[in-house]
C-alpha cells in the first residue's frame, strides 16, 4: 500500500472546500466538494476533559460537524474505521517564529556607540517597534510546517522575535495545500514584548536590563501622552501600540526573575502580560503565582553533564547540577500551584526533543490531561480563539491528530495530522502491528525473535537459547526486512506481512547463501505494559529546594529568634562607646535592651564572653547582587533603577554576610554624569529581592565625575562630555530642564511625563539624595557649586579620593565622604589619592565612611576601617563608626540601623575578637534578629552540599549510558563593578 504514502495529494479530502472558492478557474472546471468524512470507532479527546470512547468524529469543509458516540452519518460520507485508535485536537504554539524571516543584524559597530535612532516618523528609540507586523515578515515554509505537523502541531502564533516592543503576531495553520488565505487564520494576533534589543539597529540605548525596563515604562507614558494629543508630529510606533491595546500582550520574559520584572511594569500600566517562562519557575513559585500571569512554558530541560572526568566535573556548580535534576518538575509544580500555562517549542535545542521532554515532565509529576490542555485549549484561550481551535466541538476547525494510543506514550505512533480538514499522513495507519515474539528454525538451530518498540518502527532482539545475537529490522509498508548474525553466520529474511495471519512467511538467505522460505512462528503477543510498569517503579529522585536554590542555600529559611548576647564587649557606635562585659537582648527583631546581667526571659542565651558584638557593617558603595550596574546608552540615566535588577541569588551576598556585612547600597556605575537610582538592601540570603529591599527605602541616585564619564580610558570620542568642563554643563543643563519641567507641571500645563525629569525634580525638592563618584578636587568643588546654584545639596561624595584637599569646603556644604581606605595609582586621577584621606576629612568635620566598591573587599571592611588607625591615627572607636553608623548616616538609615541602641534593628555581628583586628572573624551575623550567617550552620551546609554533589554525580553517571554527553562547564555570574558595561 505504498502508493498511499507516495501520492497523498489525491487524498486531500475537503481540500478545495473553502478558501479561494470565488476565484476564477481557468485550468479546468470548478468542482465543489460537499462530502463528509467520518472517523468511527475512535477514542476521541474532544477536549482535555471530554473523552468519548468508541466515538465518531464527523467533519466537512474543514470543520467539525459533530463528535460523539452516536453521530448520524450522512450518505455522502467517506468513512474511516479507526479500530480503537485515538483522536486528539492538534497542538498549538503561541510563541513561535515559524515562517518569519530572521531579522538582519545591523552592520557596523566599531568602538563608537550610536546614540541616535535610525528611523524617522517612528518612536525615538529603534528598539520599540510595535508597528512591526509578523504577517509582513511571514512566508510559507513547507519544510518547517511539515516538521511541526510531525510533532503534532496544527496551528502556531508566529511573531518577529526581535526588539523590545516586537509588534503583532500572526495566527497560522500549518497545512501544505491551499493558499495563504487558508493558512492565515488571523493576520493580527497578539502583540509581543521583551527586554532584548532589536538586532536591526545599533542604537545604544538601552544597554542594560534596567534600561530596557525604563524604556518600556517611558513608552507607555509616551503612548498615553500621544493619545491625549500631546505630540505635534506623527509617531507610527505609538499609533500602532495604541491601536493594538486590546490584543493579548505576550512578554518574552524567559526567566523567573524577568517574569516579576515584566509583571511590575504591567501592573503600573494596567497590562497583564502572558509570560514566556524560563524553566526555573519552580524555584520561586509563590512569587510567580502572585503575578497572576498565564505562562508559556518551554520544555528546555537540561541534559545531564558528562561527569566521568573528575577534574572536569569539578567545574560544574551544584546549582547547575540541581537544575538538571529539578527542571523537569517545573510544569508539574506550576500545575500544582494552579498556574495556567501553555507549552511552547521555544527554548528546545532540537524541536524533535519535544515529545521526550514532555514525557519527562509527565514522569516528573505533570498529569497527562494537563499536558494536553497546555497544548490545546490553553493556547487557544490565550489567543482568544477557543471557539476556533484547540478542541473538537461542533464548528471548530478540523485540526486533529490520529494516534495509535495515548498521545504522550513512548510507544504511540502519530499516524495522521489533519489541519483545516487537510490530511497529512505521518505514518501508515493501515500497516499491521507485527510486534510480538516469534520463533524461527533455520539451519538446524532455533532462534527467538522479539519485535518490540513502536508499531511503525519496531525494534528487534534475537536470541539463540539464552545467547543474545545482533539483529536489525526495517519495516516499511507491508514488508519486514530482518537480519541477524550468529557468530560468523548471517541470516537475512524478507517477509511480506499478511493481514489475516499472525505468522510471517519469509524468503530467507541462509549463512551458506542458500535461499529458502521459512516461517516465523508467532508465539506471544507484544507486551507494552511490562516496560511501562518497570519505568514507573523507578520514580525519579528529586533533590529538595534550598533557599536560594544554589550553593550555600539554606534547607529552610532561618527564623527570627529572641537572643541574649551575654557578657560581650559591645561596640555601640554611639556616644556610649565600647562597653565591656555587657549584655544585649534582642526581641522581635529589635535591640530590646543593653545592660549588665539582663534576664533572658524566653530568649536564647549566647555566651559572648571574650567576644565582641557590633552593629552590622554597612557598605555605602557596592555592586554585588545586581544583574546590571550601568545604563551607558545615554549620558544621563536617572530613569533607571537598580532596584529593578536586584539579584538575590548572588553568592557574594552570602560571602559578605560571612564578613559581617548586613546592609549595602547597590549603586549604579560611573558611566554617566547622571547615573541611575540606587537599591539599598539588607543581605537576607534566601529571601526574594522584594524582601531584601529596605521598606521605605531612602531615595538615592548615583552621579559621577571624571575619567569614567569622560570615557578617557577607552577609544570613545563622540559622546559629550569629553572633559571636566563638559561635565559641569551636563549637570547645569539637566537641572535647568528639570526646573522648567517642574514649573510646567506646577502651572497645570499639559506635559509629557518624563521619568528622568521626575527623578531630577525629586533631587531639587530634597527628596532624593546624591552619592557622587568623584576623585579630583576641581570636580568635587564644581559639583558643590552647581548644587548651590541649583538649590540642592550633595549628600555624599563616594570614592572622593582628593576629598582631603577640599575637606573644609565639604564640611561647609554638609556633604559626607565615603572612601577607599588605601586605593590609588590605578588611573591618572587617583595619583594623589592618599590613605590618610579618611582621617583628614574626619578631622575637618566630614561624616566619613569606608566603602568597598568591590565584592572581595566588602567582606573584610572591618580590616579596611582598621587602616584608618594606621593611616592618620584615628581612634578605634571612630574607625569602627566608619563602617557602621557613619555609612548609616550617609544613607539616612541611622534611625534604623548602624549602631547598637535600644529600639534599632537587631543587625548585629558577633566577632571572635576586636572587630578591627586582622585576627578576628565574624562568627554570627544577624539581620533583624534572624541569624543569616553562623559558622556552625556554614559547616553543616558544606557537608550537605558535598552529599548532594555526590548524589547528583551518581545520578548523572547512571544517565550517561543513555547517551547524554553534555560537556561540563561552569556558569559563572559576571561580577560587576563601577565600570561594567
Amino acid at each position: 500500500m505504498k502508493w498511499k504514502l507516495a501520492i497523498p495529494a489525491i487524498l486531500w479530502l475537503g481540500a478545495f472546500a473553502f478558501g479561494q472558492e470565488y476565484y476564477p478557474k481557468n485550468d479546468g472546471v470548478k468542482a465543489a466538494d460537499e462530502n463528509y468524512t467520518a472517523f468511527t470507532n475512535a477514542r476521541i479527546y474532544v477536549s482535555p476533559g471530554q473523552v468519548i470512547d468508541n466515538g465518531t468524529l464527523l467533519i466537512r469543509k474543514g470543520k467539525v460537524v459533530a463528535a460523539g458516540s452516536s453521530v448520524r452519518i450522512p450518505e455522502n460520507t467517506v468513512t474511516m474505521d479507526l479500530e480503537g485508535k485515538y483522536i486528539y485536537p492538534s497542538f498549538i504554539d503561541v510563541f513561535s517564529d515559524y515562517g518569519i524571516e530572521k531579522p538582519k543584524r545591523a552592520p557596523g559597530g566599531g568602538r563608537t556607540a550610536q546614540y541616535e535612532a535610525t528611523r524617522e516618523g517612528f518612536y525615538w528609540n529603534d528598539h520599540i517597534r510595535p508597528e512591526q507586523q509578523a504577517l509582513e515578515a511571514y512566508s510559507f515554509d513547507q519544510k518547517a510546517a511539515q516538521a511541526l505537523r510531525k510533532l503534532g502541531f496544527g496551528v502556531v502564533n508566529s511573531h518577529v522575535t526581535d526588539g523590545i516592543a516586537r509588534g503583532t503576531g500572526v495566527l497560522l495553520a500549518l497545512q501544505d495545500e491551499g493558499a495563504e488565505g487558508d493558512r492565515v487564520l488571523e493576520g493580527v494576533s497578539g502583540q509581543y514584548f521583551s527586554f532584548d534589543k532589536s538586532v536591526t539597529s545599533r542604537q545604544s540605548y538601552p544597554t542594560s536590563l534596567m534600561g530596557a525596563m525604563a524604556l518600556l515604562r517611558q513608552m507607555y507614558y509616551d503612548a498615553d501622552w500621544y493619545a491625549r494629543g500631546g505630540s505635534a508630529t506623527t509617531d507610527r510606533s505609538l499609533e500602532a501600540l495604541l491601536a493594538q491595546k486590546n490584543l493579548v500582550h505576550f512578554f518574552a520574559a524567559g526567566d523567573k526573575g524577568n517574569i516579576l520584572r515584566a509583571d511590575g511594569i504591567g501592573d503600573a500600566f494596567g497590562v497583564q502580560y502572558v509570560m514566556l517562562a524560563g524553566g526555573q519557575e519552580y524555584e520561586n513559585i509563590d512569587q510567580i503565582k502572585a503575578t497572576g500571569a498565564t505562562l508559556v512554558v518551554p520544555l528546555n530541560f537540561p541534559e545531564a553533564f558528562d561527569v566521568s572526568n573528575p577534574y572536569e566535573a569539578g567545574y560544574i556548580s551544584l546549582e547547575d547540577m540541581k537544575h538538571w535534576n529539578q527542571a523537569p518538575t517545573n510544569p508539574g509544580v506550576l500545575h500544582q500551584n494552579g498556574i495556567a500555562f501553555a507549552f511552547t517549542l521555544q527554548g528546545l535545542q532540537k524541536q524533535t526533543d519535544f515529545m521526550p521532554m514532555l514525557r519527562k515532565a509527565i514522569q516528573y509529576g505533570l498529569p497527562e490531561e494537563e499536558a494536553l490542555r497546555a497544548l490545546t485549549t490553553e493556547p487557544a484561550r490565550l489567543l482568544g480563539q477557543a471557539d476556533q481551535i484547540g478542541s473538537l466541538q461542533t464548528g471548530r476547525r478540523a485540526n486533529f491528530l490520529i494516534a495509535s494510543g495515548p498521545v504522550f506514550d513512548e510507544n504511540t505512533t502519530l499516524y495522521e495530522n489533519w489541519v483545516n480538514g487537510q490530511r497529512d499522513i505521518l505514518a501508515d495507519m493501515d500497516q499491521k502491528d507485527i510486534r510480538g515474539t516469534y520463533t524461527l528454525t533455520a539451519a538446524g538451530k532455533t532462534f527467538t525473535l522479539e519485535l518490540g518498540g513502536k508499531a511503525a518502527a519496531p525494534s528487534l532482539k534475537v536470541k539463540r537459547d539464552t545467547t543474545d545475537l545482533k539483529g536489525k529490522i526495517a519495516y516499511s509498508g507491508d514488508w519486514a526486512d530482518l537480519s541477524f548474525t550468529d557468530g560468523d553466520d548471517r541470516y537475512r529474511l524478507a517477509a511480506r506481512v499478511q493481514r489475516d495471519a499472525d505468522n510471517l512467511q519469509a524468503k530467507t538467505v541462509l549463512p551458506d547463501g542458500k535461499e529458502t522460505r521459512l516461517t516465523l512462528k508467532k508465539t506471544a503477543a507484544f507486551e507494552a505494559e511490562k516496560e511501562k510498569e518497570a519505568k514507573e517503579d523507578a520514580a525519579p529522585e528529586v533533590l529538595p529546594l534550598t533557599y536560594p536554590n544554589i550553593g550555600y542555600g539554606y534547607a529552610a529559611l532561618p527564623k527570627q529568634e529572641d537572643v541574649l548576647f551575654r557578657n560581650a564587649t559591645v561596640w555601640t557606635s554611639e556616644d556610649a562607646g565600647i562597653l565591656e562585659n555587657t549584655d544585649v537582648l534582642v526581641r522581635g527583631g529589635k535591640i530590646a535592651r543593653i545592660g549588665k546581667d539582663l534576664s533572658p526571659g524566653r530568649a536564647r542565651v549566647i555566651d559572648a564572653t571574650g567576644k565582641h558584638l557590633t552593629a552590622g557593617i554597612i557598605d555605602e558603595h557596592s555592586h554585588i547582587a545586581a544583574l546590571a550596574i550601568n545604563e551607558a546608552g545615554h549620558n544621563s540615566s536617572a530613569e533607571v533603577k537598580i532596584s529593578d535588577v536586584v539579584d538575590p541569588e548572588d553568592p557574594d551576598i552570602y560571602r559578605n554576610l560571612a564578613g559581617g556585612v548586613t546592609s549595602i547600597q547597590i549603586l549604579h556605575g560611573s558611566a554617566n554624569p547622571i547615573g541611575g537610582r540606587s537599591a539599598i538592601i539588607k543581605l537576607k540570603w534566601g529571601q526574594p529581592a522584594s524582601e531584601m529591599l529596605y521598606k521605605d527605602m531612602p531615595k538615592y541616585i548615583k552621579f559621577a565625575l571624571g575619567e569614567n564619564v569622560k570615557q578617557s580610558n577607552w577609544q570613545s570620542y563622540s559622546r559629550f562630555p569629553q572633559t571636566r568642563m563638559g561635565v559641569e554643563q551636563v549637570f547645569l543643563n539637566y537641572f535647568q530642564r528639570a526646573k522648567e519641567y517642574q514649573a510646567k507641571k506646577d502651572a497645570g500645563q499639559p506635559f509629557r511625563y518624563d521619568e528622568e525629569m521626575e527623578v531630577l525634580a525629586e533631587i531639587l525638592r530634597g527628596e532624593r539624595f546624591i552619592s557622587c563618584h568623584s576623585y579630583v578636587q576641581s570636580e568635587i568643588n564644581m559639583l558643590m557649586k552647581v548644587a548651590d546654584k541649583m538649590g540642592f545639596r550633595v549628600n555624599t561624595f563616594t570614592h572622593i579620593l582628593e576629598g582631603y584637599k577640599v575637606a573644609d569646603k565639604m564640611a561647609e556644604h554638609g556633604v559626607g565622604g565615603s572612601t577607599f581606605s588605601d586605593w590609588w595609582a590605578y588611573k591618572f586621577e587617583v595619583n594623589d589619592a592618599i590613605p590618610y584621606n579618611a582621617a583628614i576629612m574626619h578631622n575637618q568635620g566630614v561624616t566619613v565612611a569606608i566603602n568597598s566598591d568591590d565584592a572581595e573587599m566588602s567582606r573584610r571592611l572591618n580590616q579596611e576601617a582598621a587602616k584608618t588607625v594606621k593611616y592618620g591615627g584615628m581612634s578605634e572607636e571612630e574607625a569602627w563608626k566608619m563602617v557602621t553608623i557613619n555609612p548609616a548616616k550617609l544613607l539616612h538609615l541611622d534611625q534604623r540601623t548602624g549602631s547598637i541602641k535600644e529600639g534599632k534593628d537587631a543587625d548585629l555581628v558577633l566577632w571572635s575578637g576586636n572587630p578591627l583586628s586582622v585576627y578576628s572573624k565574624a562568627e554570627k551575623t544577624y539581620i533583624e534578629g534572624v541569624p543569616y550567617f553562623d559558622l556552625e550552620t556554614d559547616t553543616q551546609i558544606r557537608s550537605r552540599m558535598a552529599q548532594e554533589r555526590n548524589t547528583l554525580i551518581d545520578m548523572m553517571l547512571d544517565q550517561k549510558d543513555g547517551g547524554n554527553k553534555r560537556a561540563p562547564r561552569m556558569n559563572r555570574r559576571e561580577r560587576l563593578h563601577c565600570n561594567s558595561l
Binding site: Y311, E312, G314, Y315, S317, L318, E319, G551, Y552, D652, Y654, R655, A658, E707, N713, Y804, K805, A807, D808, D822, W823, W824, A825, Y826, K827, N831, I834, P835, Y836, I840, N843, Q844, E856, M857, R859, R860, Q863, A866, K867, V869, K870, Y871, G872, S917, V918, Y919, S920, K921, D938, R942, R949, A967, P968, R969, M970, N971, R972, R973, E974, R975
Partner: protein, 429 residues
C-alpha cells in the same frame, strides 16, 4: 596649641620644598647600630623577646637576648623588629599608573620570550614602589607579566638611585604561565559566559614542552646562529635560575609539575596554586614550593567555601610544603598589604610567627636569596624594620625605622607628603 600647629606647618613646608618627587636613597651604613629591648621576629618561625640586634656595614653582627649593644643605639623597648618583607612575582617598578599606557612596561608582545628582562625597565624612582616601605615591604621580584613565558625577572631592593643599584639578584628566574584546561566563554562571539573545556589545552601544553626541549638541545650543541629565546633558558637546566610556573587548577598543577620535572628543570616554583591543596602529595614528592595567591581573594568556584582563600596558605604549610604569599593578580599598590595578608592567615588559625614566614623567610628561600635576606640572623643583611606594634595587624603596623642592607631609609612618600601638606593647610586656617 595654635603655636604648635604653626611650627608644624613651617616644618612641613620646609619638608615639602626639599622632597618633591622621590625620597633620596640612603647612604651606606656609616656606624654600627644596635636595636635594643625589642621583640625580634626572626622570620624563621621564632621570636626573641627583649632582644638586641647589632649590625654594621649592612650585616647583622650579633643578635639575641643577652647581646651587648654598641654604636648608635635605638631603644625599641616595647617595639617589634621584623626582617624586610619580600614581594614576589610583581610588576612593581614596571608600571606606574595602571590605566596610563605610557607608564606601563610590564607586558611585552610575544608568547615565549624568556629573553625579555625586567631589570632594565625597573623604575627605581617609582612612587608606588616607595609606598611599599612604610608598611615594611622592602624587597621585590620585578617580574614581566602576561603571555606564556613572560620573560626573566630580577630581585631588587626598594631604595636605589637606579636599577643597577637596586639589583639584589639579576635574572633570577623565568616565568611560565601554564595554559588552562578550561577557558572562559567568548561571550562577544555569542558563547555563554563562564568556563568551558579548552579544546586547545593539549596543543598549548605541547607547544611549551617543545620549546623547552628545543632550548635544552640548543644548549648542548654548537649553534652558528644565536637564538635569544633558547639561550635565555639555559639557567633553568644548569640550576642557576628558577622556573616560576603559574597554575591554579588541580589538573594544570599535576600536568605542569609532571611535565617540567620530566623536562629536567631543576628548580620549579608553583605560583598561584588555587587547588594545590588537592595535590600536596605530588608537590611534596617533587619538592615544589608554592607562592600562593593572596588571601584577600574571592573563591573562584561558585561552591568553594567563602574562606578557602583565607585558609589555603595554612592548608599547604600544614601539608609540609614551603609556602610564600604573592599578590601577582592585584594592582601593584596593593602589595604594601603583604603584612596584612599574613595577619589574615594567622587570624584563620596559623601560628603568627609561621604566618610571618610566608612573607619573609619562606619567600627568601623560594626566591633563592635566603643567604642574605628573609630572616634576622647573624651574618645576614640588615634589611629589617622596627614597628611600634604587631606589624601584621593594620592597627599597629607603624614603622619608626627601616633599613635596607644597613642603610636607614626614609619612610616618607608622595602620600605622606600630601598628608602633611594638607594637614598643614588646615592647621593654618
Amino acid at each position: 596649641m595654635k603655636s604648635t600647629y604653626h611650627i608644624l606647618t613651617i616644618l612641613l613646608l620646609l619638608l615639602g620644598t626639599t622632597a618633591r618627587a622621590q625620597q633620596t636613597p640612603a647612604p651606606p651604613q656609616q656606624e654600627t647600630i644596635s636595636i635594643t629591648g625589642a621583640t625580634l621576629h626572626l622570620g624563621d618561625g621564632t621570636v626573641v623577646e627583649n632582644g638586641t640586634l647589632v649590625f654594621s656595614d649592612g650585616t647583622i653582627t650579633a643578635m639575641g637576648a643577652g647581646v651587648t649593644p654598641e654604636g648608635r643605639i635605638i631603644d625599641a623597648s616595647g617595639k617589634h623588629v621584623y626582617p624586610g618583607i619580600i614581594a614576589p612575582v610583581k610588576s612593581l617598578g614596571l608600571v606606574e599608573i595602571d590605566a596610563v599606557r605610557p607608564s606601563d612596561d610590564e607586558d611585552e608582545i610575544g608568547t615565549m620570550i624568556p629573553h625579555v628582562r625586567s631589570l632594565i625597565a625597573y623604575n627605581a624612582e617609582s612612587k608606588v614602589v616607595e609606598s611599599m616601605r612604610p608598611n615594611g615591604v622592602l624587597l621585590g621580584q620585578a617580574t614581566p607579566q602576561g603571555g606564556t613565558i613572560s620573560g626573566t625577572s630580577s630581585i631588587v631592593q626598594f631604595d636605589a638611585w637606579n636599577w643597577e643599584d637596586a639589583a639584589v639578584k639579576t635574572d633570577d628566574g623565568i616565568h611560565l604561565h601554564w595554559p588552562n584546561s578550561f577557558r572562559r566563554g567568548r561571550w562577544w562571539l555569542g558563547e555563554p559566559r563562564g568556563m568551558r573545556p579548552n579544546k586547545d589545552y593539549p596543543d598549548e601544553q605541547a607547544a611549551i614542552l617543545d620549546f623547552i626541549r628545543s632550548a635544552k638541545a640548543y644548549g648542548k650543541g654548537a649553534n652558528a646562529d644565536m637564538n635569544p629565546a633558547y639561550a635565555a633558558m639555559q639557567g633553568l637546566f644548569s640550576g642557576s635560575q628558577r622556573l616560576y610556573v603559574y597554575a591554579e587548577g588541580e589538573r594544570e598543577i599535576v600536568d605542569a609539575v609532571t611535565a617540567l620535572k620530566e623536562a629536567g628543570i631543576a628548580h620549579v616554583v608553583l605560583v598561584g596554586g588555587y587547588q594545590a591543596y588537592k595535590v600536596t602529595g605530588l608537590l611534596k614528592e617533587h619538592n615544589i614550593p608554592v607562592l600562593v595567591n593572596e588571601p584577600h581573594a574571592l573563591p573562584s568556584m561558585a561552591d568553594d567555601a567563602y574562606d578557602l582563600p583565607y585558609r589555603l596558605p595554612k592548608m599547604l604549610a600544614d601539608a609540609g610544603l614551603l609556602v610564600g604569599i604573592q599578590n601577582q593578580g592585584m594592582s601593584n599598590f596593593q602589595t604594601r598589604n603583604l603584612p596584612f595578608y599574613a595577619g589574615h592567615v594567622a587570624g584563620q588559625g596559623m601560628d603568627r610567627e609561621k604566618a610571618l614566614q610566608l612573607i619573609t623567610g619562606n619567600t627568601a628561600k623560594i626566591l633563592g636569596i635566603d643567604d642574605r635576606y628573609g630572616t634576622l640572623a647573624q651574618g645576614k643583611s640588615a634589611t629589617l624594620f622596627i614597628s611600634e606594634g604587631d606589624a601584621l595587624d593594620m592597627r599597629t603596623n607603624q614603622l619608626s625605622h627601616a633599613f635596607i642592607d644597613g642603610r636607614e631609609i626614609s619612610l616618607e612618600t608622595h602620600q605622606t607628603e600630601l598628608w602633611k601638606r594638607y594637614t598643614g593647610k588646615y592647621a593654618r586656617q
